[in-house]
Symmetry: C2
Subunit: 174 residues, 2 copies
């Protein structure tokens, strides 16, 4: 009998890439103003960051994002145990395509091109487990739904979704 690993779909922004940290840094660098992340609970990124549109369309923005603490080690753990696929919304901001590919090459050399999906909507992607910070992606998904905490999703209380706050929690759960 063939042993089949479960497929785990892992989001990039807000799960692997620390886009909040990066938006805050770029905003500060560009305007001198320090935005307060504590004021962003329940607000989508495009509304929380005044320069959102400019930054997400700038070549290099996504490539230079830092990784979320412990995410790379956590992803490597998952990659050794599951069939891991990185699924990232990218076609809305076409400059992000090359950046996201290069980010994965740099930070996650153990992820091959076979394991990458760059899309517009995640509703066409199938798997057994999805880890994402956007509830709209999870709600379209039929498998196990894991919500990675970020300011914009802090008020989500959907009972079909399991919330995690750190990659340590993901490793303990999976």
């Amino acid at each position: 009998m063939k042993h089949t690993k479960l497929t785990v779909l892992v989001d990039m922004d807000g799960v692997l890439a620390d886009v909040y940290r990066h938006f805050l840094d770029w905003h500060q660098k560009e305007t001198g103003e320090e935005l307060d992340i504590n004021m962003m609970a329940g607000i989508l990124e495009e509304n929380a960051f005044p320069l959102f549109k400019k930054h997400v369309n700038t070549e290099g923005f996504f490539f230079t994002a830092p990784s979320i603490p412990a995410s790379i080690e956590g992803l490597e753990y998952l990659n050794n145990k599951y069939d891991v696929v990185i699924v990232s919304s990218a076609t809305e901001f076409p400059n992000s395509l090359k950046d996201k590919y290069a980010w994965l090459q740099k930070h996650c050399p153990f992820i091959s091109w076979h394991q990458m999906v760059f899309c517009g909507s995640k509703k066409y992607i199938k798997g057994d487990i999805m880890i994402d910070d956007h509830v709209k992606n999870l709600q379209n998904f039929e498998g196990k739904r894991i919500l990675f905490s970020q300011p914009h999703n802090l008020f989500v209380t959907d009972q079909t979704i399991t919330r995690v706050n750190t990659w340590k929690e993901i490793e303990n759960m999976l």
Copy 2:
């Protein structure tokens, strides 16, 4: 009752983009030699075209490919009737990502970024109908399988697959 359209997954290379024509042209331009497409039956592109690796990794190659006759009109017909998603293997050749996005913008302005998936493997993509020229993509797919004829697949006789030779046939079938 909500009316739900069937989802049709449409491949790019060999279905929308005429990559054979393009490989032949680039080979001729570069070497002066005219390759004979009639000698390529049953041979995968990477083995049929001596400069395959060089060309697929060249920025601009995929953007400048011509479209397959009647494919754009056929795709627009499908797009008016179905939930169409363009699904293209692209992450193996990262320079193709931007090119393929730009090709779709140029040739198929009626396709939005929501309808694009650029991936490594198509086994993670779900839908009701798949149109592809590579049998390996169709064999991983659970829905209706439509094989678009190209030299490399001419000897495929899989009974679970419906072969079409032109976009007119696709329009008549769907």
